[in-house]
């Protein structure tokens, strides 16, 4: 077993760990990324590429997403076109009057929160996206919604971080975290001991395992999302698309009961269409299921009938790191000095990666983050329990 040292050890080379590493190197701090498989092997490599603002709850969540979105413009300049970031604008499709009613209120709050978003009727909508069926009665549109290639983004962040001095150990599961007098001392992997004063838990759905190694309970659960990938096609869709059902269910849980699930849809730069997604608690099982993939197909067909003739070539499932309140867990953990959380983004990891990287890096560098981390800290759950 070899010995090494690091200023900061980041556990997990998904998009969150990669973004933190990237933002640290911009401050002259050179972290060590430790990944049990390969970069983007978890949820970051098994998701769609929607960078959506419309879906974020007005308030903290939306503010965080807006800040992240601003930083994507900068990231595109630095990382280049390879990340396939495109400001396509996004549509949130409304299929009935009760959804429309919820969306009216939602949009008013989002506008008050600083998001540029408008309601458009069915006719105008089909002008924007001719393949949408009459079943869609209206949509909200935000020009800020965007698309990116999630794994290209993860790999580009890591490449830029490495070029600036960060190190990556892939294929090395973390097996222990050494703590003495309430302080992190070192991280152990199968192959080495890494002496370090700081550990960032960016292990996504596996963050509870890393937490346990440090003796803390992290209330994240893997929530499976199954997606379909079609063969590449000439441009069929211009915008990123989600279903208003997701939002309606957040506002009014009754709408979710017994109703149809939501959906997401995008055409990647490669021409492949990505269609999602189930939301299931199925442990760490990353298989796709007949029921799951057929339900996604059945859901999207009446909305975009032209998809019937497009071949599905692949399906995959990612484990979204779900938290009970839908917000990520970020920042220090009381009683354990040197241990930082950066996990639990559920389906927002790609969209919130830029701001998460910035906030954690600023905190580590001793700067005042652009955003207070307090509302995102792990302690919020124990307070609830108390």
């Amino acid at each position: 077993m070899s010995e090494t040292t690091a200023e900061v050890v980041i556990v997990g080379a998904g998009v969150i760990g990669a973004a933190i590493a990237f933002h640290l190197t911009r401050r002259g701090i050179r972290p060590l990324l430790v990944e049990k498989e390969d970069p983007a092997a978890g949820s970051s490599g098994a998701c769609d590429g929607l960078v959506f603002l419309q879906s974020k709850k007005p308030g903290l969540h939306l503010e965080l997403a807006l800040e992240s979105r601003r930083r994507f413009d900068e990231l595109r300049e630095i990382l280049g076109p390879g990340i396939e970031f495109r400001a396509t604008g996004g549509l949130c499709l409304i299929e009935n009057d009760s959804e429309l009613e919820v969306l009216r209120r939602w949009l008013a709050e989002q506008r008050a929160g600083g998001l540029s978003v408008e309601l458009i009727d069915g006719t105008d909508l089909r002008g924007l996206e001719p393949l949408l069926s009459q079943r869609v009665i209206a949509a909200s549109f935000s020009p800020l919604d965007a698309q990116v290639n999630p794994y290209a983004l993860t790999f580009a962040l890591i490449a830029a971080a490495r070029a600036a001095g960060a190190r990556l150990l892939a294929g090395e599961p973390v097996t222990g975290i050494e703590i003495a007098s309430g302080r992190v001392q070192a991280v152990r992997t199968l192959r080495r001991r890494i002496a370090t004063p700081l550990v960032v838990n960016a292990a996504g759905a596996h963050a509870p395992e890393i937490g346990r190694l440090a003796g803390i309970t992290v209330p994240i659960r893997p929530r499976r999302g199954q997606l379909l990938v079609t063969a590449a096609r000439p441009p069929m869709l211009r915008h990123g698309i989600i279903s208003a059902r997701y939002i309606a269910a957040k506002f009014n849980p009754e709408l979710a009961v017994g109703g149809e699930m939501g959906f997401s849809l995008e055409q990647a730069e490669s021409g492949n269409l990505l269609i999602g997604s189930t939301r299931e608690f199925a442990g760490f099982d990353r298989r796709t299921t007949l029921a799951g993939i057929r339900s996604v197909a059945r859901r999207i067909l009446p909305v975009v009938p032209a998809l019937a003739a497009v071949p599905v070539i692949r399906t995959f499932a990612g484990l979204r790191p779900y938290t009970p309140d839908g917000l990520p867990i970020l920042g220090p953990v009381s009683g354990l000095e040197g241990f930082l959380m950066a996990a639990g983004h559920e389906g927002d990891g790609i969209a919130l990666s830029a701001v998460t990287g910035e906030l954690l890096a600023a905190h580590i560098a001793g700067e005042r983050p652009a955003f207070p981390l307090d509302p995102f800290r792990l302690e919020r759950f124990s307070q609830e329990a108390a």
Binding site: G171, R287, I300, L307, A309, I313
Partner: protein, 465 residues
């Protein structure tokens, strides 16, 4: 049919699946036999059975079984691809035209055969370069796609393909084999136990040589050249460690190049069903793990034929019969003579496995050899033809910190195209293990997800099943 739950479903109507179905039918069990192609029999028998080699009793036996199936109680579902398998014995099938269908069964036999392995070289994607297996199927149907061939790659199957070409009146200008001549000569033990196969092999070799075909061992396909399509093939000699011998290059004009580098088992349906796999280089790489009675690690699922070890039609026929008897035993439908037949078949199977190991060894090379082979390939060599991923990108992905083929797939899109990685995922594993100096099988098998064939979204979301 969705409501019906079949006693046994058999995936794959090659020699193994057919033999199992016939065995079950004899005992009065009505099995469902699902075959992707129009005809049963697999590539060994597809087309005219009359064209099969007279020295190979396996062909005659298989065609007899196929004829018997027509009149039996077996329900044959032809031109149906199994595109999904779920634990709990549910299958999703797709017809070439028409819908998808879910099928439920109590027991399952996986007999999904093998596909050819390829090793890339400059020009391997040119029109005019085809698989030896494709040549075999075409010649059995009486079609010769060109008059002059070069046949190349590794292993004994090259001789079989070349002989088929000659028998159809074609000319083989050269047969180019990576392996040593000494390794091509069967050990005495196999001569005794596998005499018919050896005579067959010898007959084919003689036919090739008498036609003027030249066989070159320790020789590599260096490049396939041509602008619109293949015009000539460049070959070169290699040393015992797989290094090119400079100055040994030869140019052979050819309208068609048939390539083959051995076979790999079609394990994907078994993977989806949750069956544990095993890596055995000498039996073809990743295989479905089975016990002596061909039971997989999942209760009620059996595997037979190439998926348990690449070994040819005779092994597949035997295993289909053996799996059929084992299934009958599990169902309490086997008498004492059946049980003693099981033991006889198990003994014969061990001999066939010894042959299979020798056969597959012809297409496998040492770590040093493979490292030198891959090391000499040019950076701009296409590895994934669907997504146009080149070797240099794979090297860069490794340099960027990826460690496994799964990571490289994400970093480069290698294997993400319309063919679902069926051509290049094996190549990627070979190349990465060679570049990383890892033994073959050093990585987990490529992960697999439904659908196993592209299927229109409208069918997947349709009401079928």
């Amino acid at each position: 049919m969705a409501a019906e739950r079949w006693e046994v479903a058999i995936v794959g109507g090659g020699p193994a699946g057919a033999a199992c179905a016939a065995t079950l039918a004899q005992a009065g069990i009505r099995a469902l036999l699902i075959e992707e192609h129009e005809r049963l029999g697999g590539p060994t028998l597809r087309g005219e059975t009359a064209a099969a080699s007279p020295f190979s009793p396996a062909y005659r036996r298989a065609s007899r079984i196929l004829r018997s199936l027509g009149a039996s109680a077996v329900f044959i579902l032809g031109r149906r691809a199994v595109i999904g398998v779920e634990p709990g014995f549910r299958l999703l099938t797709a017809a070439e035209e028409g819908g998808v269908q879910e099928i439920a069964c109590r027991r399952l036999l996986i007999a999904t055969g093998a596909r050819e392995r390829f090793f890339p070289f400059p020009g391997w994607t040119l029109p005019g370069v085809i698989a030896t297996g494709a040549v075999q199927i075409l010649t059995k149907q009486g079609v010769l796609p060109a008059s002059e061939f070069v046949v190349g790659g590794a292993g004994l199957f090259l001789v079989a393909a070349a002989a088929d070409i000659v028998r159809r009146g074609g000319r083989v200008r050269a047969l180019v084999d990576e392996g040593r001549l000494a390794d091509r000569l069967p050990p005495p033990r196999l001569l005794l136990t596998q005499g018919a196969k050896m005579i067959d092999g010898l007959a084919r070799t003689l036919r090739l040589l008498l036609s003027g075909g030249r066989i070159a061992h320790r020789t590599r396909l260096l490049e396939a050249r041509g602008t619109e399509r293949l015009r000539e093939v460049v070959t070169a000699r290699v040393d015992e460690n797989g290094r090119l011998l400079v100055g040994s290059e030869r140019i052979v004009p050819a309208a068609m190049l048939a390539i083959g580098f051995g076979f790999a088992a079609n394990i994907e349906p078994a993977q989806l069903a949750g069956c544990p796999l095993v890596f055995e280089e000498e039996l073809g790489g990743w295989l479905v793990q089975t016990d002596d009675a061909l039971k997989t690690g999942v209760d009620g699922i059996y595997a037979a034929g190439e998926v348990t070890g690449i070994g040819g039609a005779e092994k597949s026929l035997l295993e289909g019969r053996l799996a059929g008897l084992a299934l009958l035993e599990e169902m309490g439908r086997l008498d004492r003579s059946g049980r003693s037949e099981i033991r006889r078949l198990q003994r014969r199977r061990r001999r066939l496995l010894a042959f299979a190991r020798w056969f597959n060894r012809q297409t496998r090379f040492s770590e040093t050899y493979r490292a030198n082979w891959v090391g000499a390939l040019p950076e701009d060599l296409t590895i994934c033809r669907c997504e146009q991923v080149r070797l240099g990108e794979i090297r860069r992905a490794l340099a960027s910190g990826c460690r496994t083929p799964a990571g490289i797939k994400k970093a480069t899109r290698c294997g993400m195209g319309l063919c679902q990685g069926n051509t290049c995922k094996g190549i990627l594993q070979e190349i990465v293990s060679a570049l990383e100096a890892l033994p073959p099988g050093g990585f987990p098998p490529p992960s697999v997800r439904m659908p196993l064939r592209p299927v229109d979204l409208g069918l997947l979301g349709g009401e079928g099943g």
